[in-house]
Symmetry: C2
Subunit: 349 residues, 2 copies
DNA sequence: AACACCAAAGAGAACGTTTTCTATCGCCTA
DNA sequence: TAGGCGATAGAAAACGTTCTCTTTGGTGTT
């Protein structure tokens, strides 16, 4: 086992070796000040020979900024988070930033600790990904975070959740959550479905759930179909919960012909429950999801769902946060991806 | 738009407000030195009133270390990476560390830049996730990284790839790649399959591919079944490549009865091609995958595959790297998860 | 040939902490 | 009551950079 000694070379060491002052070494490093060709090459040789690497902390301390972007989410394994993360990471490296990743597990205490840690780290931007909670205390705390970060010279970014108010210093990158739900529900209604269930949209404490529910409701209004409260089932955004909710739904309302799942993962649970019950998709029941994760195309039958521009969401979040000149509130579009999980309703004679 | 001024309070400000010296504030903060109760509360009040947050960079510079752990992979969206990341993140926060995430896209130049950046950041550990390339130049560079990081007081961790040599200062957390491939191939052979194809295992430049191929070969030897070279198909670890490779396989060798896919994503591609060709799983062709990502259970029919302890891999990587006292080379086990994608081969009369 | 000027390099302060060393005060012991 | 000691608190250095201010030396102008 190595002893992990700490013998890194410093600017001073390089300077001594090259026979110049530390200031000159720094100037060679940053290249913003004239240095003789011979001096420069002497310094560069010393750097190579000592395998010198600059100390990012010292640089940041001196005022250069940390060049860190923080990415905060509930859980790393959420299937669409990876794509947002990809977008964030791409844009961050494109703009010379490193990416910090943190999870909250939906725990307010942990969230507080995380944002505190980001303040300590002096991250250029703190990107909150995914829906937010609909509760006043939570909202208040977020607003405080926004001001605290702003005061510390960094930026709170809401990625995939609505604004906290026009005057709060945040960057907001949303997508048209309601519009997507409206479109995909309309797709179902247009195929003649009149008893359409919503699985996972009944959570009233979450922005994502609420907005998708709004789209569901609006589509029904537009088609003049009353929303049947007994067809609304709560479920967390997981396959297991989607499956359980669908089981109970089928037990009570066997007449359902279409199901809108809150997310593709929930839809996977819906499929599972339908298969157990011996109901075929789409012949007996049509199903639609939301998010368009890779799983959707691999379900059997391939799932009709709503495309969310996850990667673009991440890229945009970083770009806006780092370029104060740009518009700090953007709404990206969504659209329906038609696959094979929806069929016209059969009219029973 | 806010003007992003930079008016954070410092220890000095807090000291002035509390009417004490900076040293005393620091002592209240770290709590490792006796401070009068009244002084302490005066300082704490000043901290609250000024909303003071310590500067992590200054602390790190003073010698406290950065408390950063870096997580380096090819691509954030790789389905099993998320689970390794989860393990890393959990263990890192449990040990009071923050998580840096970087991607290389398999590009050696970018990889070099990333490791350089991690050296600048003085990360406590740099965790390389996923298989490595089998080429001497690459291996040499990795060895150099290991020494460079070691010299800088941090640790290179190989997570899911074999050691670079016993004397190289690294931490290695592998899983039994070959054993899993051996077991799952044996499972197929035990069901009477004798013409078993390997899709995606023919890449000879990658440790993951090579080790899984070894298990495939060893199982064949044990069963006395010669490996048919024409049944070995190269493919990247993606669905698209798996599909394409299977198409060409089916076109040339319609007599295949079993397929070992290099990964579950490749298996999804195999399913796709089989469906196109009108071959049923498992009645006409049995298929097995590797990794046991959530997708595997949702494919139709559910995929028999090899469970890789991804999350534990990540947790262990961090734990070992941060605790020099522990054994610095660990091999975790794998096991076959039997689902419904394998059937006994039908004996043609 | 004297002077001004410009390019190049060095000296030293500063960033915000922590930590060692030193100073002060009150109290206990002899 | 003098001396010493323990408990607190302050002063100042240090971490590794960058940057401002000087200094130096060479060149061009008159």
């Amino acid at each position: 086992m190595s002893d992990r000694r700490n013998e890194r070379a410093t600017v001073k060491d390089v300077a001594a070796r090259a026979g110049v002052s530390p200031a000159t070494v720094s100037r060679v490093l940053t290249g913003d000040y004239p240095v003789t060709a011979t001096t420069r090459s002497r310094v560069q040789r010393a750097i190579r020979e000592l395998d010198y690497v600059a100390n990012a902390q010292a640089r940041a301390l001196k005022g250069a900024g940390t060049r860190l972007v923080a990415f905060v989410m509930e859980d790393v394994t959420g299937p669409s988070f990876a794509y947002v993360a990809k977008g964030v990471e791409h844009q961050a490296t494109a703009q010379g930033r490193l990416c910090l990743i943190c999870t909250t597990h939906g725990d307010p205490a942990r969230e507080l600790a995380v944002v505190e840690a980001m303040r300590e780290q002096r991250a250029d931007a703190v990107i909150l990904v995914g829906g937010g909670f609909l509760n006043d205390e939570y909202r208040e705390r977020m607003i405080q975070f926004a001001y605290a970060l702003d005061k510390a010279g960094s930026r709170l970014v809401l990625c995939g959740r609505p604004s906290l108010g026009a005057d709060v210093p945040t960057t907001v990158v949303e997508y048209d959550n309601e519009g997507g739900a409206y479109a995909v529900t309309s797709h179902l209604l247009s195929q003649g479905h009149r008893r359409v269930a919503a699985v996972g949209l009944a959570r009233l404490d979450h922005t994502t759930s609420r907005d998708r529910m709004r789209g569901f409701t609006r589509a029904h209004e537009e088609y003049g179909v009353p929303v049947d409260q007994a067809l609304l089932r709560a479920a967390a955004f997981t396959q297991a919960d989607g499956c359980a909710a669908t089981r109970s739904l089928l037990a009570e309302r066997a007449d359902v012909t279409g199901i809108v799942a809150a997310t593709d993962m929930v839809a996977a649970g819906v499929y599972e429950a339908l298969r157990e019950a011996g109901r075929r998709v789409p012949q007996d029941v049509s199903v639609v999801g939301y998010d368009d994760i890779p799983l959707a195309a691999n379900l059997y039958p391939p799932l009709t769902t709503v495309r969310v521009p996850t990667e673009e969401l991440g890229r945009t979040a970083v770009r806006l946060a780092l370029n104060p000149g740009e518009k700090q509130h953007v709404v990206l579009g969504t659209h329906v991806v038609v696959r094979e999980s929806v069929a016209p309703v059969v009219v029973r004679a």
